[in-house]
């Protein structure tokens, strides 16, 4: 039996009971949408409109609608792709890596973080597909036989690896997320009053009853999914970085890229998780579930990964000098002092300096400061990808081919549009799905109970029925402690 320390701080505050958890989390699913949610959805839908318009222009008139030229063939599109994929990584880190490390505080945030992963990957996938110019031929990326003969895909290309990595990552994350949602859908189903709600949540919950055998298998499945997702998430950004690292462009052709990209991905992902969680906890009144302790812990991860990214920036510079390769040296000097110096300055100050403020305890526990920092980090990580992609491409080996890149309105529109797409999906998720994993949160409610469990395993000889160790007695207003079956329905 696991030893439970009596000195631990509770992970969920206000002495919630199991029923309180159900009530608090199901509330936003069952209640009518509130005005703030409607307002936010309105803004997100406007941005989604911008997305559809920009995509229409891109498809109708072609990639010429973007600011690309012969020298800078990859710019905002790939910047946005890497940015979104990176954001997605924090969700898998929380749901898989922290599960393997038994970080129980993850329970309150993993559901929303996984949703963020899935929506971020959807946004990311838009860019390579649109950049193809003819997205209706997107199936060319799969190893299907060519109509003229058996010409297959090129398995030596990192761009093809990307196809496999991103599609595996997306489907695995989706399945992991959905399997975790099934028991919570069952809770909503058993509380549902309306016909449509009953039907839809019954379909979604796949007939889950909470049987002991099912839970046993469910835990096995979660553990193995976490086990395979952990190397998967590392491989995805490694492969994304190889899109650059296997080329011969100065500034890209470096072996440090895989770890550097993975650290950057987790860094930006945690910043986005913080941004979303800080909003969610206020809008849905989840302060007891997503506590200041959670915010401080996420801040610490952000600081550590931010520092790794900082070290990577400096290492790149050192290696450029140490390599004695003229082109490599110029690429880095040009980044810092060339025409895009402002992007470099933005990247350095947002990513290297700003997370260092988290060393100060008051900032780590401050909601306002955390929110500001998380936005700054998101901006900084976008600049990082812009710096890597555009400044490396715009001046490489041949000075006669040097060029500048400036985005068009459509470039901006597609980018801002994907933010709209992301928030539309996230807001719909937050309204119709439980934003916190109720079943998992219930397992950690008694994390700190002093007179903890008396059960020491099957047939241990201690056969005395224990007292009820609930932190506080069942005290939900209007529901008696031994309520009859279907009490929720009788209260109508």
């Amino acid at each position: 039996m696991q030893y439970v320390s009596p000195v631990r701080e509770p992970l969920i505050t206000s002495g919630k009971t199991y029923h309180d958890v159900t009530q608090d989390i199901c509330y936003q699913v069952e209640a009518a949408p509130n005005i703030r949610w409607m307002g936010a959805l309105g803004v997100a839908l406007v941005l989604l409109g911008v997305f559809f318009y920009s995509v229409y222009r891109t498809l109708w008139f072609g990639i010429g609608e973007w600011g690309l030229n012969k020298t800078v063939g990859w710019a905002w599109d790939i910047t946005n792709f890497v940015w979104w994929v990176g954001i997605g990584h924090a969700g898998t880190l929380i749901s898989a890596v922290l599960l393997l490390f038994r970080q129980k505080w993850r329970s309150s945030i993993n559901r929303a973080a996984e949703a963020m992963t899935i929506f971020a990957v959807i946004c990311a996938a838009m860019f390579p597909v649109l950049h193809m110019g003819r997205p209706w031929l997107a199936f060319y990326v799969f190893p299907l036989q060519n109509t003229l003969g058996s010409l297959w895909a090129n398995f030596n290309s990192p761009l093809l690896w990307d196809v496999f990595a991103i599609s595996t990552y997306f489907t695995v994350s989706l399945v992991f997320w959905y399997t975790g949602l099934v028991p919570d859908f069952a809770t909503i189903r058993d509380r549902a009053k309306g016909k449509i709600a009953k039907f839809s949540y019954s379909m979604l919950s796949m007939g889950w009853t909470g049987s002991a055998k099912h839970w046993s298998r469910y835990e096995t499945v979660s553990l193995i999914l976490a086990g395979v997702s952990t190397p998967l998430v590392l491989s995805v950004h490694t492969i994304v970085s190889m899109d650059f690292a296997t080329s011969v462009v100065p500034g890209w052709h470096t072996t440090i890229f895989p770890p550097y990209f993975v650290a950057g991905a987790i860094f930006s992902g945690f910043a986005m998780v913080l941004t979303l969680m800080l909003i969610t906890r206020v809008v849905f009144k989840l302060e007891d579930y997503i506590t200041l302790e959670h915010i401080a812990l996420m801040n610490k991860i952000m600081m550590v990964t931010g520092s790794i990214v900082g070290v990577a920036y400096i290492t790149e510079f050192f290696i450029a000098w140490y390599s004695q390769v003229e082109y490599e040296q110029y690429a880095f000097i040009n980044r810092a002092t060339g025409p895009y110096w402002w992007a470099y300055l933005g990247m350095m100050s947002c990513n290297v300096l700003s997370p260092q403020f988290v060393w100060i305890r008051r900032i780590r526990y401050s909601i306002t400061m955390t929110f500001i920092l998380s936005i700054i980090v998101n901006i900084g990580m976008w600049f990082e990808r812009f710096v890597i992609i555009v400044t490396s491409l715009h001046r490489d080996y041949l000075p006669s081919s040097w060029a500048m890149f400036s985005p068009t309105r459509i470039d901006v529109g597609v980018y801002v549009g994907t933010i709209g797409l992301f928030f539309t999906l996230f807001l719909l998720f937050a309204k119709f799905f439980p934003v916190i994993n109720m079943a998992e949160v219930k397992t950690i409610l008694k994390y700190t109970v002093n007179d903890g469990p008396t059960y020491g395993g099957a047939n241990d000889g201690s056969r005395t029925p224990s007292r009820n160790t609930s932190p506080v007695p069942h005290a939900t207003p209007g529901v008696p402690a031994s309520a009859p079956v279907n009490y929720d329905k009788q209260n109508d």
Partner: protein, 194 residues
């Protein structure tokens, strides 16, 4: 605590109401710790527990109920190996035999370059194979209506279900046994489809 009436149910003489109707005694518990002790004691009394329904995974209940360790990890490993074999076969066959092309002067079968796709497909097969197996063997699929013994078992109650015979003759003894072991209520429920 063991009584002969519990272990040997009397032979039924009345005609069955419906062959698919099942009767359950439901012991409702408020706490996982009480439940675990109760599972031990009820089994020690010689009563067969049909199933236990809980709002979250109760650790230790597998051992208490005698549920065998899941063999899903073995299945997962098998699926992973299938994925790896498929990925290697696909890449070697396509680039090495079916349509060999010289790409950057590299060998046709460039195994180091095949690692990423092989890894991703291993993970893909492991995950989806295992999850499909999980849903299939657990008989979990979308349903119009889900039969539940007690709706509170997905909220805050732990429900121990014991199958009764057609006259529910064990009910009084079971009620007493469950009450003694900390059940906050004991109910009887009939299910036509379960």
């Amino acid at each position: 605590m063991t009584s002969p009436a519990l272990t040997a149910a009397p032979v039924s003489t009345a005609p069955a109401a419906s062959s698919s109707t099942k009767r359950f005694a439901l012991g409702i518990f408020d706490d996982e710790d009480t439940l675990l002790h109760a599972v031990d004691n009820v089994r020690a009394a010689g009563v067969k527990i049909y199933d236990v329904f809980s709002p979250y995974p109760v650790h230790g209940i597998d051992d208490a109920l005698g549920i065998e360790r899941s063999r899903l990890p073995i299945a997962a490993f098998f699926y992973g190996m299938c994925g790896l074999a498929f990925a290697l076969w696909m890449q070697i066959y396509m680039l090495g035999f079916d349509w060999p092309m010289i790409i950057g002067g590299k060998p046709n079968i460039a195994l180091p370059a095949f690692i990423p796709v092989s890894f991703e497909l291993t993970v893909f097969f492991t995950c989806h194979g295992m999850v499909i197996t999980f849903y299939t063997i657990s008989k979990l699929y979308p349903r119009f209506k889900t039969p539940v013994l007690d709706v509170r078992s997905t909220d805050d109650k732990f429900v121990m279900a014991i199958l009764l015979d057609e006259q529910s003759s064990q009910m009084p003894q079971l009620t007493q046994l469950l009450r003694e072991n900390g059940a906050s209520e004991v109910n009887q429920k009939e299910m036509t489809k379960f």
